[in-house]
Assembly symmetry: C2
Homo-oligomer: 106 residues x 2
Amino acid sequence: METFIRTISSLNDETRVLILRFLDLHGGLCVCDLQQSLGMIQSRLSRHLKILKDGGFLKVERAGAWSIYSIRSPLDRFRLECLEEIRCLDIELPLLKKLSDKGCKI
Amino acid sequence: METFIRTISSLNDETRVLILRFLDLHGGLCVCDLQQSLGMIQSRLSRHLKILKDGGFLKVERAGAWSIYSIRSPLDRFRLECLEEIRCLDIELPLLKKLSDKGCKI
DNA sequence: GGAATATATCAATATATCTTGATGTTTAAT
DNA sequence: ATTAAACATCAAGATATATTGATATATTCC
């Protein structure tokens, strides 16, 4: 039950659904890219990314100073169904501003 | 997005998952039966039942003074997947105390 | 019609969650 | 070594959600 609620509650927020959709579309991104693209402050993003990770949807990989967040793979059946449902949502997605390539300076 | 969040948030509560599981197991029940079986007060149940209905998981049918709540059928693919996931949870289910047959007197 | 049952809703309080700004911690560049 | 970037975490305030008891609305039975 605990795990189920943690999984569900990780989706129970528009910000997190947006983040998930954005990472699903663009693949792994660092926090500073998400910051730029989604126009959110860092602490807010970090928090939501952690919740999505604890919910089993994301994984993190350290690359130097960067934390690269991406959709965990493989997702189990249920989480994949959730992701499929999110893919069908009509969400206004911002453009990707990938500054990390040129050296991100927030 | 709005509908998705409403669906997800309706599952984001242990009480509601329990109610859903209980109705899934026993079929349609009135509020007073749920009250007896789950040991909850009426206002609390009414609230959660409404949220599950608004989340698209339950339907209500009036039968005289009683409101019979049951799993909505057919469920769409995503809600069905959610229900399947809930069926797999290890939940301690109370016994059914169906007093409505003999005339429920709360 | 009047009393009692079943349910819904409201108001107040308690609890949890989200947002922001501040503060740590680690890594990279010089 | 120092400085700065990238990220995590914490504390405080704001917002949302849950619980309870009280009240309102049907409906049934007499």
